[in-house]
């Protein structure tokens, strides 16, 4: 299946998470990440696992998709787990292999840290990747950051760049395929030989691709100008974002969750994770 970059990993749906305002989702994600890093003990982790599971259920996205999304972080999770297991010193010695000692606390710590990474990925993808299109995200970002435009940050220009990139990446990927085929038809070989030989074989692809990308950029600039584009000033949008009651409710709920986690850290000590 060819991935559609314009939609990223967006899963079509109509859940409350899909309907949330992209601005709200960005804010919520940031708070959620902070809360995940504030969590210190087993109780808080249990709470956050529950809320993240609730998010998954709310979104209606299948577990298989979510598991697939976790694959790329498998290595990092494993790596952190191993480091923690082997290099953590605690009180209860479990295995003594002379060079490395494994402690119960190390295992415990590793478990919670891996859990934190998993929760981090699952929760942010619930709010951002799976339920929001990159275009909506760009839009939300532009509007969220629009106050910065007053102090001279080119917010609109960045969002326009992002929009155009999203539009043209698939076109350029397609073009790369075409150029590769054209070069293959002339006897180019991209698959055999050493690293250097293969790297050199890329040159006849890169150069036409660049030439064409610049030509496209020129054409697009002309077409945009012709459609009265003069930058962000004086521009309106067709889809105006309206924050609804549930956007505020969600932000409040996640903030309350953060408060709960802080309180639990203070009043329920014990089984604390380091790092």
């Amino acid at each position: 299946m060819k991935m559609d970059i314009a939609f990223g990993q967006y899963c079509e749906g109509n859940s409350i998470l899909h309907r949330l305002d992209p601005r709200a989702k960005l804010i919520i994600s940031i708070i959620y990440i902070v809360v995940l890093f504030l969590a210190k003990n087993v109780f808080t982790f249990a709470l956050l696992t529950l809320t993240t599971m609730a998010l998954v259920i709310l979104s209606g996205i299948s577990l298989r998709v979510i598991a697939g999304g976790l694959k790329p972080i498998l290595f990092i999770a494993l790596f952190t787990a191993i480091i923690n297991i082997f290099f953590f010193t605690g009180d209860t010695l479990l295995v003594d292999l002379k060079i490395v000692k494994i402690y119960l606390e190390g295992l415990f710590n590793a478990g919670l840290i891996v859990l934190r990474i998993v929760l981090l990925i699952v929760s942010t993808s619930m709010f951002l990747t799976y339920t929001t299109t990159p275009l909506a995200l760009t839009d939300g970002m532009e509007r969220l950051l629009s106050p910065l435009a007053k102090i001279g940050v080119p917010v609109h220009d960045f969002s326009m760049m992002m929009t155009i990139a999203l539009r043209f990446i698939p076109t350029l990927i397609e073009e790369t395929g075409k150029i590769m085929n054209a070069q293959k038809a002339r006897g180019a070989d991209f698959t055999s030989g050493g690293l250097i030989k293969r790297a050199r074989a890329i040159i006849p692809i890169i150069i036409p691709l660049f030439v064409s990308a610049f030509r496209r950029a020129g054409d697009l600039a002309t077409a945009m100008e012709c459609r009265c584009y003069t930058g962000g000033a004086g521009r309106t949008r067709m889809n105006v974002l309206h924050a609804k009651w549930y956007d505020f409710a969600f932000v409040l709920a996640v903030t309350a969750l953060g408060a709960a986690v802080v309180l639990m850290n203070i009043y329920l000590p014990g089984y604390t994770v380091t790092m």
Partner: protein, 292 residues
Amino acid sequence: MENTIEVKNLCFTYEGYGDVPDVEALHDVSFTVEKGSFTAILGHNGSGKSTLASVLCMLSEPASGEVYINGKLMTGEDVTDEDVFDARRRVGMVFQNPDNQIVASVVEEDVAFGCENLGLPPAEIRRRVDDALECVGMRKYARHSPHKLSGGQKQRVAIAGVIAMKRDCIIFDESTAMLDPMGRREVMETIEYLNKVEGVTVILITHYMEEAARADRVIVMNGGRVLTTGTPGEVFSEPELLWDADLDVPQTTELLYRMKKAGLDVRLDIFDFEECAAEIARAVKKRQSEVK
């Protein structure tokens, strides 16, 4: 009659560099386009059609000559940015390659792009976008991503984007070149609808004589100059002139011209197949009665 566009003694040169010589793409071009009319521009490759269109859209500045848009002089020193913006919201263009004129990664967002630049209120943009997509028959693709559409569908999205801006004049630069006969007919119907019903002034740059034959006026370009102008009937009545400029004439004209050469008394300014057949039948009957 009011003129939407008036061009006087227009010259345009692409500056050379190094060994590359200057190219004089337009030389002493003059013509007028009446408000609400349908003008076709013909000419072989490199005859300066696209260059002319880009000058009319304020995309390039001519070396000399005058361009008036709605009676306002748009060339020379004292043309301000506001004037240019104002001219661009009156005259729009649909380019040959649809791929490089679509900005957004969702069809309706792209159609909305021009209206957003005009600073229209959101509800108004929504209405125009829906109407424009309806007009080009792409309503059900509103939420699709453009790179998955066929060339013809992309071209229609591009046309919708221009329609939505509701401009006085739209220039189509070989916008039907990538389409199949069906798609071309549909786009032609859209163009004629815009012209006849919505009253938009249309300038159609094309290589298809059948399309040019449906215009009110035809301008024939050759080597950066205007070779001839007139109604399709007038222009195509002199096929030799067009053949000399490496251009074709409509099939009906060619057939009638040959018959005339062979001594049959037929009119040349007929572009409809049925009418053409009727004309030939009439002439043949007349001839038969003369022989008898």
